[in-house]
Structure formats: structure tokens, C-alpha cells
């Protein structure tokens, strides 16, 4: 595994941030970003009603514009999986559940396994697990690997997203190492963050993970997806991420099957930008529904 130079990786990201995405390319990117969004609510005060609202928003992000695609998934706590599944059941929008004692992951493995089985049984199509950062930072990579592999098995056919919580890993070398461990253990997606730790998804962390995905694909032939999550709130940021994706993994990865944004406030900003491009009038949030 090649090391990563922090300064130079950040310089590369800065250079890519100057890409100028205009007109049709921008419109395509905004709509693609919507289709790649995992619309997320992960609050202690989440209610069934809030989740139902969110699910309806996910299916029809802009009630006034039927051409806007649905988002990729709705991501909730285990308690609310059933509620989400009721609303989303017959739609293309998938139910994603955080699992493995999100966000800390500080629980025995058998509890994590049980939780994972439960969310899948309740209707989750996708499972977002966290790695044991304590074990990782202590150098116990075997434990990290075997946990991911065990949860992978428990998740069955569900899509498994593995959250590295990069804000706690301390270096890009560790981000790369954790990415490789998670992919080798069976992750379908690798995900930056829980959203509970700052910094969450930074462009540089994303680039390092995308490069890891590229290397893993080249050596194993298996294509793993990428999910930056946490702190991506604007359309401008989302486009910047798509540029990173485009220039690192290429168009084969520019689909919801291989790329997701974990976000909550991003969706409305994407919608506002689309409306602005269509109308050439700057928009007010009052005209967009909040779930």
C-alpha cells in the first residue's frame, strides 16, 4: 500500500476544485447528485412522523417538478427502519439503516451482529456500519477486518457500507489502510463519516478513498462504491465531489450504484440550483419543502 503525502494530496484536490462546471454539464451534475443522495436523518429526536416526511421528500424531492429524480436512499436509525420501509416499499428509493451501535461502535460484536440482522429483517436494503476505530488505532487490524467480515455475513444480501470515521483516523495513510481493510473484508461501499465527528467528509479524504477504490478494483476486479457523508451541504460542494470522482474513477463510477452523498440539507440546495438554472432567478428556501 503506497503512502500518501498530505500536502501534495491536498494540492491535487485544490487544483481540481478550480474546474469550472457550467450549463448542461452543471444541470446534469445537479440531477445526478440528487439521484446519488442518501437522504439522512440521524438525530436522537427523530420521530416516525419525521421519517415519513423525509421518505415522501425522497420519492418526490420537488413536488412542483416531476422531472426531478428520486434520491437513492433514506438513511435512518434502526428503530425507524420499519417506518421508512412502509413508505418506500414499492418505490425505487432504498432503505438504509445505520448499524453496529452507530456512531461509536462501542459494543460487543454479537450485539452488532444482532442489530444488523434486525435491521435487515425490518426491511433495510442497505446497512451503514461503523468500524471499531479504537481497535484500528491500536493496530488491531485483524479485529477490524473480522468485524466487518462478520457484519457482512449478517447483512446478507443488503448493500454494506462501511463507515471509517476518517476524522478520527489521524492521517491519510490510516484512511487508505482502513479503506483497504474494509474493502477486503467485503464492503460494498466505503463511507467517510458518521456525521457526528468533525472533520467529516473532506475532499482530500474522499480523494484518498477514491484512489484506494481504484487500486482495489485494479488488483481484485471488484468495484466498491464511495460515500462521502457529513458536511456536504451545498450544490457547489457536491459538484466538486463529482469532479473528484470523474477524474479519479471515471464515468463508470458516476452512478448511484457506486457513489452516494450522505446528506440532509444538500437536497434542497441542489433543487434550488436547478430552479435557478431553469429560471435565472435567485431562489428562496421558502419555495422548497423541508422534510
Amino acid at each position: 500500500m503506497p503512502p500518501t503525502d498530505e500536502v501534495m494530496v491536498e494540492e491535487r484536490v485544490a487544483a481540481l476544485s478550480t474546474r469550472s462546471i457550467k450549463r448542461e454539464a452543471k444541470m446534469w451534475a445537479l440531477r445526478a447528485a440528487i439521484s446519488m443522495t442518501d437522504l439522512t436523518t440521524l438525530e436522537g429526536m427523530d420521530t416516525k412522523e419525521k421519517v415519513r416526511q423525509l421518505c415522501h421528500k425522497a420519492i418526490r424531492p420537488d413536488p412542483t417538478d416531476a422531472s426531478i429524480p428520486p434520491v437513492a436512499a433514506v438513511c435512518v436509525y434502526p428503530n425507524l427502519v420499519g417506518t421508512a420501509a412502509e413508505v418506500l416499499g414499492a418505490t425505487s428509493v432504498r432503505v438504509a439503516a445505520v448499524s453496529t451501535y452507530f456512531p461509536s461502535g462501542q459494543a460487543p460484536l454479537d450485539l452488532k451482529v444482532a442489530e444488523t440482522r434486525q435491521v435487515v429483517a425490518d426491511g433495510a436494503d442497505e446497512v451503514d456500519m461503523v468500524i471499531d476505530r479504537g481497535a484500528f488505532l491500536a493496530g488491531d487490524y485483524v479485529k477490524v477486518f473480522s468485524e466487518v467480515a462478520t457484519v457482512r455475513e449478517a447483512a446478507g444480501d443488503a448493500c454494506l457500507k462501511v463507515i471509517l470515521e476518517t476524522g478520527e483516523l489521524g492521517s491519510y495513510d490510516n484512511v487508505r489502510r482502513a479503506s483497504m481493510l474494509a474493502m477486503a473484508a467485503g464492503a460494498d461501499f466505503i463511507k467517510t463519516s458518521t456525521g457526528k465527528v468533525s472533520p467529516a467528509a473532506t475532499p482530500a479524504v474522499t480523494l484518498v478513498m477514491l484512489e484506494s477504490i481504484r487500486d482495489f478494483h485494479r488488483s481484485t476486479g471488484r468495484a466498491v462504491g464511495m460515500k462521502p457523508a457529513g458536511g456536504i451541504g451545498s450544490a457547489k460542494q457536491a459538484i466538486r465531489w463529482l469532479v473528484l470522482l470523474n477524474e479519479t474513477l471515471g464515468l463508470e463510477w458516476m452512478t448511484p450504484q457506486r457513489f452516494r452523498f450522505g446528506a440532509s440539507s444538500l437536497l434542497n440546495d441542489l433543487l434550488m440550483q436547478i430552479r435557478w438554472l431553469e429560471t435565472e432567478r435567485y431562489q428562496s428556501p421558502d419555495y422548497f419543502t423541508r422534510a
Partner: protein, 493 residues
């Protein structure tokens, strides 16, 4: 998620496409006039030669401006103006001199968009580079040197620095305004007056700089700009009224100047060609090394004296590294320099394109394997695609001669000692790159590479505080930093 797939734009064959649309900077910002005269003694003036030459946009071959060609009588006028201004400029309170330079720096910042477009049009470089690299450095050079003007007695211990007098400077076309800044800022800060000859294919931004300097309040005659070709440059460096010559350009011309100045007692600094080597070890941060190598050879279409035109990669990672490099090449965007998304712009001139083409052909004839990513080149203008050569041997022309184009020769090595031997096996010695995560090896390599600049785990970094210049046939003297000041001062050597 099936219906979401339909969102991805696809080509006729079903391959998804996401083309960035053209995002073109406005060429009118450059405000180019039909005729561009000489700049002597604080004003634009007609050439006594009566001769004007055309400068074109190498990306379109479109006409930009008719430029005055300075002949011997014009050189005489310009050197005379600089001589007349020298005593007053040197005697001016140093703090006032400093303020003049600070004001120039500020005006450059204010007009940086205009200047970036001007250099892009006249030289063919991508606007992204002109905007993000050249112009910020141009302003930084004036700011940095402005601050030295009244502190020179602190720069060299135990000396009493004095200006040289009149400085004749000849600069190349690859960084038209940045090279002017590298030359003019330290010369003025140290109390010299200047006659600057810009390259014949890129004279416009240097003339604009002279206007800006006048606007900033620089006294007449302190900075004179006289466009022309090689003959004008030869006239200038040979002029008896010039006390110091600073040249950036080819090693061949540099040697001619050295010969011409032999025995004259004139001070001379030369910043000449190179054949920079990137040494990539197996433990390197490979993805950043790929970026560094790409930046090292494709920055400014490879038309950079310190371009990393040779890649020495450790055999154990050679095939993987070359593979990464090829993939990365396929994402480079070649085309309209004014498009903000362009990575590789136009070659500066038909003559330069011909030289690149000829050397690349020699590489193929000598048996090296060529790789060029598929890319469409515009029909008009001067273009060359990013090019890699593998199976290159040390004796091939492409591994020895400076190509000054987007062409990388790849060789392999097995041990650090072999890497050093190969890297140094050239008459040049401007810059080298080392990529490894082992700190002690970096320092071991840095000690042994015959080069004026060693970039470790980075490449093509420039800063006004950092001395730049070569060893061996890459020239002598440094530009930038405390060391760069010495080139313009008497009594410090």
C-alpha cells in the same frame, strides 16, 4: 435504482459521458492594441528601425499586435535612458524605492486577470496556470523584493552592497511576465536600472508591465522594455553601457553570451536549460508522485527549463507506476488555453512545435516506445499531445537533449546509487525530483543529485523567497531569495 441510470448522459455506444462544458475566459480583457511600441524612458516610442513584427496567438494563429523591433539605435537609446536614470534611482532613499516596488506589486494584483489573459493569448499557456500560478507569483516577486530594497545591508554580512548600474536582461517566452518579474524585481530593489528584452513571440506582457510600473510612479528610464529577436538581445548584452547581464534561455545562447562577455568585466548570470530527472522509489507516495510527474512534464506544455523530462522509476514498481501514469494522462484536457478547464494549452510557436516533433520522431526511430492518450487537437494553432516514452535508454536523444515540450522519457533503476548515477549523467543540472517516504534517503539523494533545486515529494514549486538556478551547463547565479540579490549587487562577492 434503475430509473436513475437513465440520468447518465451516454454516447451512441452507451458509454456514459460527462463532458465539462467550455468555460472560456474573455479574451477582450487583455486589451491588446494593434500596435505595441518600445518602452523607453517612461513612454511608448516608435522604433528607430521603423520595423514592426507580428505577434500571434499560438492557439489560433490569429494576429494579436504589431510590435516594435528594437535595433542598435534603439538599444542605444534604451541603455542611455537607463544610464541617465541610474544615479538618481540608486541615490533615492531606499524606502522610497521599496514603495515603488510595493505599488507595482499592488497594481499587478489589481490587474492580474487582464495580465493572465494577456499571457495566455500571447504565449498559449492555459489560463488556469496563468491565473493560479504565473500571476500570483509575479505579484509575490515584487512584494518580496520590495521589502529587501531598504534592508540590503542586512543581506550579506560584512559587506557594503552597491548596485551594479545598468542591467541588461533577456528573457524567454515560456513564462513571459513571470520571467520579467524574476528579472526586474530584484534588479530594481537593489538600485539598478533595467533594459529588458522580452522574447519575440511573447513581448506584450513585459510592455504592459512597463506601463504598470510607470503608473506606479517608477521614474522614467528605470525600466525600459525593447522587444526584438536574437539580434536585439545580442546588441543589448554586448552594449558597453551595460554593467550586468542576466539571461534566461537556452544553454546554447547562454554559452554564446558567456563567450561574448569574456574579458569584458561585466557581471553575468545565466539561467539555462535542463533535463530534470524525477526519481521515484518503490516506497514513494505513488499517487502524489504521479501528480508530481504529470505536473513536472506537462505544466506549461513541458516548456519549462526545470521540467522533469526524465522519469527514473525503481524497477519493482515501474510497471505499476507507468500504468498509473497512463491512466492519469487520459484525464488531461488539451485544447483552448482560454478554457478554464484546459490542462494543456498550445505550443508557443511553429518553430518550437517543429523541434518537439523532430525529437519525438528521433525517439521512435531510436526504438523507444511511444504512448499518447487519445485526444483531439484543434486544427489551427500549434499543438502537441502529452507523450510518454518507455524502453528509453540513456543514449537516446530524447533522454539527453532538452525537448522543451510535453514529452517524458521513462527509464528504470534498481538501487539508489544507480538512480543518482543516471540522474547526474547529463551536462545539465537544474532541477531534480525525489519521491520516497524514507526521510533519510531523501537527504542522501538530495546531497548527491547535481542540481540547483531538489524537489522532494513535490515538483515545480516556486517562491520568491526560494533561490532558483542551476549547476553545470544549466547556468550560474540564482534568482529569488537572499541569494538572488547577490547577482545584482557589487561588493558581495
Amino acid at each position: 435504482m434503475g430509473n436513475n441510470d437513465a440520468l447518465a448522459p451516454r454516447s451512441e455506444t452507451g458509454v456514459p459521458l460527462w463532458e465539462y462544458q467550455e468555460s472560456r475566459e474573455n479574451p477582450d480583457l487583455a486589451a491588446i492594441r494593434d500596435r505595441s511600441g518600445l518602452w523607453i524612458n517612461g513612454e511608448e516610442t516608435e522604433p528607430l528601425t521603423g520595423k514592426w513584427f507580428l505577434t500571434i496567438d499560438p492557439a489560433t494563429e490569429g494576429h494579436l499586435s504589431m510590435v516594435a523591433e528594437a535595433g542598435p539605435a534603439d538599444v542605444e537609446r534604451a541603455v542611455g535612458a537607463a544610464r541617465d536614470a541610474a544615479a538618481g534611482w540608486a541615490a533615492m532613499p531606499a524606502t522610497e524605492r521599496a514603495k515603488s516596488l510595493f505599488r507595482i506589486a499592488r497594481l499587478i494584483q489589481e490587474r492580474s486577470r487582464e495580465l493572465a489573459v494577456l499571457d495566455t493569448l500571447d504565449g498559449g499557456k492555459p489560463i488556469r496556470e496563468a491565473r493560479d500560478m504565473d500571476l500570483p507569483l509575479v505579484a509575490a516577486h515584487f512584494f518580496y523584493h520590495a521589502g529587501w530594497a531598504d534592508k540590503l545591508e542586512y543581506a550579506f554580512l560584512g559587506t557594503e552592497p552597491r548596485p551594479m548600474g545598468v542591467v541588461g536582461q533577456v528573457i524567454p517566452w515560456n513564462f513571459p511576465l513571470l520571467m520579467a518579474a524574476w528579472k526586474v524585481a530584484p534588479a530594481l530593489a537593489t538600485g539598478n536600472t533595467v533594459v529588458l528584452k522580452p522574447a519575440e513571440t511573447t513581448p506584450l506582457s513585459a510592455l504592459r508591465l512597463a506601463e504598470i510600473a510607470a503608473e506606479a510612479g517608477l521614474p522614467p528610464g528605470v525600466l525600459n522594455v525593447i522587444p526584438g529577436a536574437g539580434a536585439t538581445g545580442a546588441e543589448l548584452v554586448g552594449h558597453g553601457g551595460v554593467d550586468k547581464v542576466a539571461f534566461t534561455g537556452s544553454t546554447q545562447v547562454g554559452k554564446e553570451i558567456r563567450r561574448r562577455l569574456a574579458g569584458s568585466g561585466k557581471a553575468l548570470t545565466l539561467e539555462l536549460g535542463g533535463k530534470g530527472a524525477h526519481v521515484v522509489f518503490e516506497d514513494a507516495p505513488l499517487d502524489q508522485a504521479v501528480e508530481g510527474v504529470v505536473n513536472g512534464i506537462f505544466f506549461n506544455q513541458g516548456q519549462v527549463c526545470c521540467a522533469g523530462s526524465r522519469l527514473l522509476v525503481q524497477e519493482s514498481v515501474a510497471s505499476e507506476f507507468v500504468d498509473r501514469l497512463r491512466r492519469r494522462l487520459s484525464t488531461l484536457r488539451v485544447g483552448d488555453p482560454l478554457d478554464k478547464n484546459t490542462d494543456i494549452g498550445a505550443i508557443n510557436s511553429a518553430a518550437q512545435l517543429q523541434r518537439i516533433t523532430e525529437l519525438v520522431e528521433s525517439g521512435q526511430e531510436e526504438g523507444a516506445l511511444i504512448y499518447q492518450p487519445p485526444c483531439e487537437l484543434p486544427e489551427r494553432g500549434f499543438w502537441f499531445p502529452p507523450t510518454l516514452f518507455t524502453d528509453v535508454s540513456q543514449s537516446h536523444r530524447i533522454a539527453r537533449e532538452e525537448i522543451f515540450g510535453p514529452v517524458l522519457s521513462i527509464l528504470t533503476f534498481r538501487t539508489p546509487a544507480e538512480a543518482v548515477e543516471r540522474a547526474n549523467n547529463t551536462p545539465y543540472g537544474l532541477a531534480s525530483g525525489v519521491w520516497t517516504s524514507k526521510g533519510s534517503r531523501i537527504l542522501w539523494m538530495a546531497d548527491r543529485l547535481a542540481a540547483g533545486v531538489v524537489w522532494a515529494n513535490t515538483y515545480n514549486k516556486f517562491d520568491p523567497a526560494s533561490p532558483f538556478g542551476g549547476v553545470k551547463e544549466s547556468g550560474f547565479g540564482r534568482e529569488g531569495g537572499r541569494h538572488g540579490l547577490a547577482a545584482y549587487l557589487r561588493g558581495v562577492g
